[in-house]
């Protein structure tokens, strides 16, 4: 019995070797790109409803399109389905001039009726649309002719174009034929969706992959690729294996994995700003962080440069305040250099022994990678040297949110190690550090309450003159740097790996994966 099994297994292995080799060759000869487009924090595996999309825009933008898009550098908003757009100075009327020749995948023309319909759907909270609150200011969408749409707002909102870079236009004719009740649960989204993008939907193999094929009637011309396939991976380890075995041509990878591809001529490594600032948050309600000397001491006890160099291997840049890039970061911030002796002095002056002494303090985090385990261990050792005892605790996202947004849990998270998206639009910081934005109103989970900071934020958000806004936000950064409601640590880079066979590929690790011009029509194999 054992011998038969051995012979059989040898035969099986031989057969596998042959089929395996044949399969790899068969895929490369077809003009279809396969990638892990929803791997990593910018992806949203298994989501097909653009109204519920908080991420995954890289993939959605292949078969749907938005009115406007950022350029690849995430600096300027340009037109997509809207050839151009303008607004009145009060920012209460936005006029969009639509391109004349956009067609849906079923052949019908894209018109302003579709725009009005999409906005109406997006404002419907019952459909699970996350745009409902963000577009609440829109009171009316006027459609004077088939290629002009005017959005009228009840209140001024300068960030409307930024919101629209994520809203996919949806077909009025196809969707109004479906029952409105339960539209978000309709299988239409994952079996036969219709968009205007360069590729059209073919099929979704549950939990396995999504297949698109080229849209030959696309207004900018037929794409060079015959099709694109999005393979799903539970984690980036599987994606890395598939990249190395040549089965996929692109994926997001973790920063330490990217280093392994760096010197390999078969791959290009693409990197960019993650726009997520990592910090240690001080829970203002935990009772031991009220003296600013203690907060400064903690920051100065940590050797950020050493951690960035040794553990991140350079895949991060130091962060001195809430903002880390663009024109909202002033040059005169205090770097709080690594100085454990000074940190001990500050703690002594503040009376740390009486405030907390050597009682261990939990430091909660939702990051679960071995890399972050190493980072938190290093921080623990450095803080231990000055007399602050912390115990890292890594939990999953649901537990983390349950604890920090719950009531009476403050003893469980006197400290957190977390990340916050700080751009590209700087106003986003308000919801994290304004004292009026404590849960349940907003995301100020650390209950930061710094009156000067509130004042600076309110002034910046209310500033009507676009040329004065950067200076206002720089003031926010200065107050943050002085008062330290959080201890800012670093901002990481995000990495993607592309096979050297692919040309004209554009990828920016944007927060939430998009939406920016990715030039999918020009992607091609060499």
């Amino acid at each position: 019995m054992m011998q038969m099994t051995r012979r059989q297994s040898l035969a099986l292995a031989g057969g596998l070797a042959i089929t395996g080799a044949r399969r790899a060759r068969a895929q490369a000869s077809r003009n279809v790109m396969v990638g892990g487009f929803d791997v990593g924090p910018g992806g949203f595996q298994g989501n097909f409803n653009p109204l519920a999309a908080t991420a995954g825009f890289q993939w959605l933008n292949l078969y749907y399109e938005t009115l406007v898009l950022y350029d690849a550098a995430l600096e300027n908003i340009k037109g997509a389905l809207a050839a151009s757009f303008e607004s009145n100075p009060e920012k209460t009327r936005f006029m969009f001039h639509l391109v004349p020749d956009a067609k849906w995948h079923d052949g019908s023309a894209f018109t302003s009726t579709d725009v009005a319909f999409t906005i109406a759907l997006a404002k419907d909270a019952k459909l699970g649309s996350i745009f409902a609150s963000r577009l609440a200011d829109i009171t009316d969408v006027q459609t004077p002719d088939a290629h002009t749409a005017i959005m009228v707002l009840g209140k001024p909102n300068g960030s409307l174009p930024d919101i629209l870079t994520k809203l996919m236009m949806l077909p009025e004719k196809a969707l109004s034929a479906l029952p409105r009740e339960g539209l978000d649960r309709n299988p239409w989204w994952s079996t036969s969706p219709i968009g205007t993008g360069p590729f059209r939907f073919v099929r979704y193999e549950t939990d396995q992959y999504v297949e698109l094929k080229a849209n030959s009637a696309y207004r900018a011309g037929k794409p060079k690729l015959d099709g694109v396939i999005n393979r799903y991976f539970k984690n980036s380890a599987g994606a890395v294996a598939a990249l190395r075995s040549g089965e996929i041509q692109f994926s997001y990878v973790e920063s330490d994995e990217a280093a392994g591809f760096a010197n390999d001529p078969k791959f290009h490594v693409i990197d960019g700003n993650s726009w997520v600032m990592n910090y240690i948050g001080f829970n203002a309600r935990a009772g031991m962080w009220s003296d600013v000397r203690v907060r400064r001491a903690l920051l100065q006890a940590i050797n950020r440069d050493a951690i960035i160099k040794a553990i991140f291997k350079g895949a991060a840049d130091p962060a001195l305040s809430i903002y880390t890039a663009g024109n909202v970061t002033p040059k005169d911030l205090d770097p709080y250099p690594y100085d454990p002796a000074h940190a001990k002095l500050l703690l002594q002056q503040a009376g740390w022994d009486k405030i907390n002494g050597s009682k261990p303090l939990p430091m909660l985090s939702y990051y679960n990678t071995p890399l972050v385990t190493n980072v938190m261990t290093a921080i623990q050792a450095m803080l231990g040297q000055v007399g602050i005892m912390v115990t890292p605790r890594q939990v999953d996202v649901a537990t983390y949110n349950g604890i920090v947004y719950g009531q009476n849990n403050d003893a469980q998270f006197p400290l957190v190690y977390a990340g916050a998206q700080d751009g590209p639009e700087p106003g986003i910081a308000n919801i994290y550090i304004n004292s009026k934005q404590a849960p349940p109103a907003g995301a100020n989970i650390m209950h930061a309450d710094v009156p000067d900071l509130d004042a600076a934020l309110n002034a910046a958000l209310a500033e009507p003159d676009a040329s004065k806004r950067p200076a206002r936000f720089q003031q926010v950064a200065r107050v943050f740097n002085t008062e330290l409601p959080w201890a800012p640590l670093w901002v990481g880079k995000r990495y993607g790996v592309l096979s050297a066979d692919i040309h004209n590929f554009v990828w920016t690790p944007a927060p939430s994966g998009g939406g920016y011009e990715q030039n999918a029509v020009a992607w091609s194999f060499s």
Binding site: A52, G402, Y432
Partner: protein, 319 residues
């Protein structure tokens, strides 16, 4: 016999109810709810966003009302809708994953049981010889390796370095599905799963055989001049199979819940991955539905195991 079976089925039904109540309570005691699982901690959600999410996920109803709703619907086979993005009906989701799970577990278990029993018998026959020690080392290796490590190593050695197998998934994307394609994708995860399970079976089989080989009836048979191989095959194996059958039954039950790491490393769309994703997302309807289905399967397998044990050894009857 019929009365016993009916009694067992009745007990099974009662157990499922108890399981569902227990699960429901446990889920409510878990920190975080579907909204907490959905929120990306680095992104900014306003109160209005969160309220919309809660409404969409059906979380604004009071607790006891939710269980009764769920239970009545479940009796009609309706397990509700997933709270995750595309809001699929739970029953459809489970039905889709049941097939791949059975395929993976089935082939893995057949392989591992055959391998384990064979190796266990051999090890017992050649006790303390070089083969026995070698098998003990291999067995220890199988048991001391964490599941994710075996899966990752298998992936990188066999799929990436040697190129013998595809690196995950159930079928090749973009090409029409064939049986050969499916088998090629099944081979590596099933083999890794079998390797882990076979070592357990082997150890128990060997120990039970050694215990039985010294019994009187074996010595009698030997003394009567019956051939050694025949003696073993007929007498010892039959009685040593009892713990192995029980163990295999327990393994099947646990296996359906998922070779979670194998499924997640190889992206095999089975029940294990469904359950893990649902727990991460605190997707209560899916967790309840799949826990119930898996629970039903485990109970039936336990029942079957008892019946098989009674068939193997007629002396065992629970009176």
């Amino acid at each position: 016999m019929l009365r016993t079976t009916l009694r067992h089925l009745g007990a099974t039904a009662a157990m499922l109810v108890a399981l569902s109540v227990l699960m429901f309570g446990l889920l409510r005691a878990t920190p975080g709810d579907p909204v907490a699982a959905y929120m990306d901690p680095t992104a900014a959600y306003s109160a209005a966003d969160i309220a919309a999410l809660r409404h969409r996920m059906g979380l604004d109803q009071p607790l006891p009302l939710q269980y009764l709703d769920w239970a009545t619907a479940a009796l009609h086979g309706d397990f509700g809708y997933s709270t995750q993005h595309d809001r699929q009906p739970v029953r459809a989701m489970i039905a889709e994953r049941a097939g791949p799970t059975l395929l993976l577990m089935g082939s893995g278990l057949i392989l591992s049981t055959a391998l384990g029993i064979g190796a266990g018998i051999l090890a017992a026959l050649r006790r303390d010889g070089p083969l026995d020690v070698a098998l003990a080392v291999v067995g220890s290796l199988g048991v001391s390796s964490p599941a994710f490590l075996t899966a990752l190593l298998g992936l990188f050695v066999f799929a990436v370095r040697l190129g013998w197998a595809p690196s995950g998934g159930m079928t090749t994307p973009g090409v029409p599905t064939t049986i050969a394609d499916l088998l090629a994708h099944l081979a590596l995860p099933a083999a890794i799963f079998a390797a882990g399970q076979a070592t357990l079976t082997m150890r128990y089989m060997r120990a039970a055989m050694l215990e039985v080989m010294n019994h009187d009836y074996i010595r009698t048979a030997r003394a009567k001049g019956v051939g050694e191989v025949w003696v073993i095959c007929k007498h010892a194996t039959r009685n040593a199979l009892l713990p192995v059958v029980t163990l295999t039954g327990a393994n099947i039950g646990a296996a359906v819940g998922g070779a979670i790491f194998i499924e997640s490393v190889f992206n095999w769309p089975g029940m294990g991955l469904l359950m893990v994703n649902a727990v991460e997302a605190r997707d209560y309807p899916v967790i309840m539905g799949s826990a119930l289905v898996i629970g039903l399967f485990v109970l039936l397998i336990n029942l079957l195991t008892d019946v098989v044990c009674a068939a193997v050894d007629p002396r065992i009857r629970v009176r």
